[in-house]
Symmetry: C3
Subunit: 371 residues, 3 copies
């Protein structure tokens, strides 16, 4: 089960334009995204309300889309505005429209109750397009549940083991546990590794002659948004006391968006604030991250395959699991709260209906775009 | 669930001969077909009654087939006539034989109660081999339930949207609803589009200089047989009043045969009665139809994938759905009637058996061939 | 369901060494095998007890393995000996260790209750490494349940039908039923075909000028171990009376190890005791067997696909099924006995736990190796 009342990243701004559709399944729902003539993004359920044909295989007509199966036409709010061979259009003929917000190079989408879609809940990821920072846009696809990837991001002790030649340095890095704090809708992790080997991805572009003091300080927020202040400075240079002079600094932004129960969209970038006029530095950092994320994907996909097998296997927690344990608890709680709320709503709205029936939650069709 | 007591197309006559087997799964049952020494077709369940090995991997021995796993031999009625190492053959040792009828280039098969297999129920498709008509034999395979394809054939309003460069003309074609009549075991559809653009597939072989009056008049019969009188004549030439002089006429024959719940065999041909001495005209028409059916397949496969995803999606009917709505109602009714009849039969025949057990319906092994 | 309390072949001795891991799923449980510094084999569950990551993607450190996800380290008994960032290691932190025995080129593994793992239950397969015999090591993988392959091995009447150009001779071979005896944990089959055509695989390396008397005498033991004295001698030479002078003799050893309910590991070799100084003879025999086993695999895979389809199909036994019927009865009985025993054990050990819960059976972690 997924949390529905939260903002998910639906894609990079660069993935949609006015001339084509982006079809992407999110939380098991097919979604079609496009950019309207005024430039704002639109997201509709990618199923014509008539027979379920994908609107993403349809035709743009101004700010409308025509389903190219039987010719029904919908405006950007999802309202059906034309049915071939039929004058009257019943008010029920509409496809679901999802609130979308474009911010800092990402398109955010709200898959839950429309009236709860508060843009103030969108985390700050301005580093993705801040002129003082540079990064390239990353995307990868996982054939696993998103929580296994969240687990990975919530315990960076895996860096020296999974990423010895990319993001990770020496194995002493894993010896110090991070400090974990609960924050609004997520977890805050503070991790310092003092006097440790610098990782390869930094040495390639901004070499340190000796050991470094390294920090990874990040929020991991519902539903799976990772925003990290990280970097390193020469060991003993006082980075932990705030001296970032001469440091290599990064501000990674990553987002997990469940596609289905068993597959995940993964959007990422790793902005740096040094050598920002050297595209080869940005490209090198990006490639290191891409390589490392393939290492993660290999491990997590193998882990998922292992867990899918039978037997009486049960995971056992270690102290380093504090962050992932708290995050999974938070996810479970929010899912449960939403279910309870939905059950309550159903109890109220389904007065005359038979018990036990699946009742679709009514979602008022509203113009999407930046609420 | 499928209707069992009806004739399905099992294949083209040309697909079977005396030297090889055709293995084809129909209604989730593996079937092996071949042509006996007298030329008549035979269909047996493609599972040796011993251990279930496919007889289609067996060996022809006269009009018999020998299973090449352990050597059991069966005659064309499915009766076991030899068991290596065993003198006595119990009467229960037989594989199911299905009534088959070869007619107008198609092999029809009856998957239900043998005693109800009335060849008079087979629809007339003589255009497939009438010397006044010409066509090529078509087959395609769908990875979807057959009813989604039936839906498609029951609303030709999709022609200009799905097939703008093959079978469809201008979009005004979709504006007029067809007349729908219930007929014995099916639906009769009468559709006229007056003063409309001729479709590309006709213009390629029999061009009209201007607009046309176009008709599509067809039966869509249980279980999924489409037989259509279609064509067009110059707009205003009086085609609707019966004047077919100078018209381009076709008599399409198509048949849907479920392979499994999620896959379908699709047999088709599109006979024309003009330029019948020009094979390149026949080939051109056939290729247009093949191309168009690939367009359908792409749309319907995408639709099926979309419907397979979750969410609270429900189809909503439009007026143009009258024919498909009536046909789906008819299918559901016939399936339900058959289930009720089977339940009644079971109640009578399973007197001494434990309740709740699945009881195979006894089917007398009968010689197949043209009943 | 599988029998758990028995020895399965986990692999060829040659498949494991001190420098790498062998990952193999057995009875739906992922297992990692390696050879310790003293040469003895070790088998652990291939799931780190922390988050389930495969230890086979880990790193050897002496006789230990370090999980390369988060760095936990385990010794050969499965006991966790290091957790990065954590001093105290709870005694529950261990991965399951499986008893393993290396004998006659095969590694045997015990997937059930450790205290029942009696090496005396391992069948004798010394022909695999006896200096008087020669063979090559074979492995193939099936995408079917292992019992369909056991069926195949329990009725060699299939030889002339499935293997007419490899292992099988003339079809009269199938006419004589074998003698079937129940033995401790299995079936003993004695099959003689007198005055029959010699099979191709023998004619290629040890041709007989005329017909032969041929024997196949074998044990088929729980869980799926096939050990066969087979061969042939000139017809009338008195082989059945014990005269093996001038005979071509073989001692095939084969083992079926379920990977999952629907896939199987198949280990095999076909030792011969003639021309043992001619590697080309050994290679030719091996290649004939490999070719023949591909013939079996094609048939059995087709059979499994056929059985997976619906309909009211039921297998019907013939007299030749006596051996497979008895073996399947034995398997079913042992599975049922184990379930009953487990249920009894659970009743005793789960006093305070809620009814109906799945309770993992405690398995004491023990040093593996040759008990």
């Amino acid at each position: 089960m997924f949390i529905r009342n939260c903002w998910y990243v639906a894609g990079w701004s660069s993935e949609i334009d006015q001339s084509k559709f982006l079809a992407r399944t999110i939380l098991d729902v097919p979604v079609v995204l496009w950019r309207g003539s005024q430039g704002s993004p639109t997201a509709l359920e990618d199923r014509c309300c008539h027979r379920g044909a994908p609107l993403s295989k349809g035709r743009r007509e101004g700010d409308c889309v025509r389903c190219m199966y039987h010719g029904l036409k919908f405006d950007a709010s999802g309202t059906c505005v034309e049915i071939p061979g039929q004058e009257r259009i019943p008010p029920s003929m509409h496809v679901k429209a999802f609130p979308v917000v474009e911010r800092s190079s990402w398109i955010w989408i709200w898959m839950g109750d429309v009236d709860k879609a508060d843009p103030a809940l969108i985390p700050d990821t301005h580093w993705l397009h801040d002129p003082e920072w540079r990064s390239l846009e990353g995307y990868t696809h996982y054939d696993t549940n998103y929580l296994l990837i969240a687990d990975n991001l919530l315990d960076l002790a895996h860096l020296p083991y999974v990423h010895p030649t990319t993001l990770g340095g020496s194995e002493d890095y894993a010896a110090n546990l991070p400090k974990i704090d609960l924050v609004e809708r997520g977890i805050h992790v503070t991790r310092w590794a003092m006097n440790t080997e610098p990782p390869s991805f930094v040495q390639k572009v901004r070499p340190f002659p000796g050991k470094v003091d390294r920090w990874n300080i990040y929020d991991f927020l519902i539903p799976g948004i990772f925003i990290m202040d990280s970097g390193m400075n020469a060991a003993g240079s006082g980075a932990k006391d705030g001296n970032r002079s001469g440091a290599a600094e990064f501000h990674g932004c990553q987002a997990l968006t469940p596609e289905t129960e068993n597959s995940t969209h993964y959007f990422f970038a790793h902005p740096h604030n040094f050598a920002i006029d050297q595209p080869e530095v940005t490209a090198s950092i990006h490639q290191s991250v891409v390589d490392a994320f393939e290492e993660d994907r290999a491990m997590i996909t193998a882990q998922a395959a292992s867990l899918a097998l039978k037997g009486d296997f049960r995971m056992q927690a270690i102290r380093a699991d504090e962050a992932l344990g708290k995050f999974r608890w938070l996810v479970a709680k929010m899912v449960k709260d939403e279910e309870a709320e939905r059950a309550g709503a159903v109890a109220i709205t389904t007065d005359a209906k038979p018990a036990g029936r699946t009742v679709p939650i009514a979602v008022a069709a509203q113009p999407s775009g930046q609420p």
